[in-house]
């Protein structure tokens, strides 16, 4: 069963005096129960807009969506009972303390006073905010504020969790902690939809990744499937002397598929290959014969970064041709 389903979502913003913005342009998305769906895309791709539609914050211009089988447009209040949300920007009351913020959220979920307080204490501990829990959020650092907001999304241990860039602004330790929290929730059956700029995060957490650009999904699959789409291994060597680059380039060219690429530093060369280990052996042997000294050498697998750049870079060009709509005020 798909716990999140979006069909043909469109959202058109018409800010006064400027061109219309197609924040969502026919977005389709299905997320099976108990999985983690990653939304990946460059700035302005429409990730936040998609999350806002699914969490009942805004109405789409066109299209429909259900969460846990409930229509988000027709019955937003029932949707709100089963979801937890942490938006891109921390939504906290600056004048309340960390504890008061979480207690308030519990009370507004109608958990009752005792249960709300118990849960607030538990979350404060879980997010390591015990020392700061009785200070107004106004004085919190960005990362602490963020953690209070994330805790707010977990107050009821919701069936479906929406996290818009959950680890942006967190230090590495807190980020790993957040990943653990998410993994635990998922093992308990929670479904998570998360957007992220960190491909490693999508790689680590997401069962399925949808790459979004221009308001629609341009590629979808597991991290491995997406990586496979842009080809196999590459060989990368880093020279000690930049003056050897010409000779090294010839060697790599002989064993690779296509033109070797030289980095800006002039010492790092890279080429796609079919059989990584075998090609590397030949390349290393020939470089040694030519007395070219190496700082580093290895086989590189494509990362999601490569996928991301290739997919979205390509689409961005197309977009420019298609152009934004004419000025609304021009007519």
């Amino acid at each position: 069963m798909n716990i999140i389903e979006a069909i043909g979502l469109k959202k058109i913003y018409s800010p006064k005096g400027t061109a219309k913005v197609h924040a969502l342009d026919g977005l389709n998305l299905t997320v099976p129960k108990g999985t983690v769906q990653g939304l990946l895309g460059p700035n302005g791709a429409g990730k936040t807009t998609a999350v806002k539609v699914l969490t009942t914050l805004i109405q789409p211009t066109e299209g429909s969506a259900t969460v846990a089988g409930i229509d988000v447009i027709r019955d937003p209040k029932s949707v709100r009972r089963v979801i937890g949300v942490s938006g891109q920007y921390a939504a906290v009351d600056e004048n309340l303390t960390g504890f008061e913020n979480l207690e308030m959220v519990g009370r507004l979920y109608h958990l009752g006073k005792a249960e709300s307080r118990r849960r607030a204490t538990e979350l404060i501990e879980m997010f390591e905010l015990t020392a700061a829990q009785n200070r107004p959020v106004k004085g919190f650092s960005g990362g602490m504020r963020r953690r209070i907001d994330l805790a707010g999304a977990l107050v009821t241990r919701p069936e479906v969790l929406f996290l818009d860039e959950p680890t942006t602004g967190l230090d590495p330790r807190s980020r790993l902690g957040m990943w653990d929290v998410i993994k635990n929730l998922v093992s308990d059956g929670t479904t998570v939809l998360l957007t992220t700029q960190y491909l490693e995060e999508a790689d680590q957490l997401a069962d399925d990744i949808a790459v979004i650009d221009g308001g629609k999904v341009i590629a979808e699959g597991t991290a491995d499937q997406l990586k496979a789409r842009i080809g196999g291994h590459r060989i990368e060597v880093t020279l000690i002397e930049a003056s050897d680059a010409g000779a090294a380039r010839e060697v790599l060219g002989r064993h690779g598929e296509g033109e070797p690429r030289i980095d800006d530093d002039g010492r790092t060369l890279e080429v796609p290959v079919i059989d990584g280990p075998r090609a590397l052996q030949y390349v290393l042997a020939e470089l040694r014969e030519g007395s070219i000294e190496l700082h580093d050498a290895g086989i590189r697998r494509p990362t999601l970064d490569d996928v991301f750049l290739k997919l979205t870079g390509h689409v961005a060009e197309e977009d420019q041709k298609a152009g934004t709509e004419e000025m609304e005020t021009a007519k």
Partner: protein
């Protein structure tokens, strides 16, 4: 983040289940948040306590001599009460704008709470602020010679009317706050609205001293009816300057109640509708 063993979230005992109880609970939680804010934000306390004292003292001591009215202080107090509580209502405007800016509205809008609760909590906050201001002003007024000469019922009636009017006006400001979305703009804009609204009225001067055009506006200004009602109820009318013979001021109670009801009927639904679609960024 530490590995705390989580207990199941219990929704059983203590959970609020009936819709009516949920509505009251939501309203109370949203109100409490604003009460905490009053306590913690010094600006609000200054406005609530010091400004009313200053107004009462300045007007009664500085203008009393210049005004050709006997016992100007008694005449004046209802006007100052009205102006102060109406200004107090602008907190709802700037606070709604600030909440949108801070993003907390997005949190509320993803919770299964009643749509009107945040607004009810906010306008209740204004009511609290205005209640405190009224107490301070009445105490200061007493020191400079203001007296209620009617009855305890007149006294409570006057206070209730002033607070009710300001409560209804809070909803007007809340809508403005959600539409304009900038606390700074709201603060500046409200002065542009509130100064004419309170000064082109009988709050500080007898209406017949105004030029014709302004006098007509003043007669129909609901603030005039509010001030006139309060003066009548407190027994602060000045025999030398009876209210002008306009229907609105001869029937100030009906006029001001109609104004209050109209404001609530129009702006409560508009606010709730607006709240249902606003989002922070």
């Amino acid at each position: 983040m530490s590995a705390v063993t989580e207990q199941r979230v219990r929704t059983g005992d203590g959970a609020v289940t009936s819709p009516m109880a949920q509505w009251f609970s939501d309203g109370w939680i949203a109100t409490r948040r604003n009460l905490i804010k009053i306590r913690r934000v010094p600006d609000i306390l200054v406005f609530t306590i010091l400004q009313p004292i200053m107004f009462v003292l300045l007007f009664s001591q500085v203008y009393a001599g210049a005004m050709a009215i006997d016992d100007y202080t008694s005449f004046l107090m209802a006007g100052i009460f009205a102006q102060t509580v109406i200004f107090g209502s602008t907190f709802s405007g700037s606070a709604m704008a600030q909440d949108l800016k801070d993003g907390i509205i997005d949190r509320f809008r993803t919770l299964p709470m009643s749509t009107s609760a945040v607004l009810i909590g906010r306008t209740n906050g204004d009511l609290m602020i205005n209640g405190i201001s009224m107490l301070i002003m009445m105490a200061t007024g007493y020191i400079v010679g203001w007296r209620v000469t009617t009855s305890i019922w007149g006294f409570f009636g006057g206070v209730a009317l002033l607070l009710l009017f300001s409560y209804a006006f809070s909803w007007v400001m809340a809508l403005l706050g959600m539409s304009v979305r900038s606390p700074e703009v709201i603060n500046n804009a409200s002065f542009m609205i509130l100064f004419p609204l309170t000064f082109i009225s009988n709050a500080f001067v007898p209406i017949h001293t105004l030029p014709d055009v302004l006098r007509n506006i003043a007669e129909w200004n609901p603030v005039s009816a509010l001030v006139q009602s309060a003066r009548n109820l407190f027994g602060n009318t000045n025999p030398t300057f009876p209210p002008p013979e306009s229907w609105t001021l001869e029937h100030p109670y009906i006029t001001v109640l109609a104004g209050i009801i109209l404001m609530l009927l129009i702006f409560v639904p508009l606010c709730v509708k607006k709240f249902g679609s606003v989002s922070s960024r």
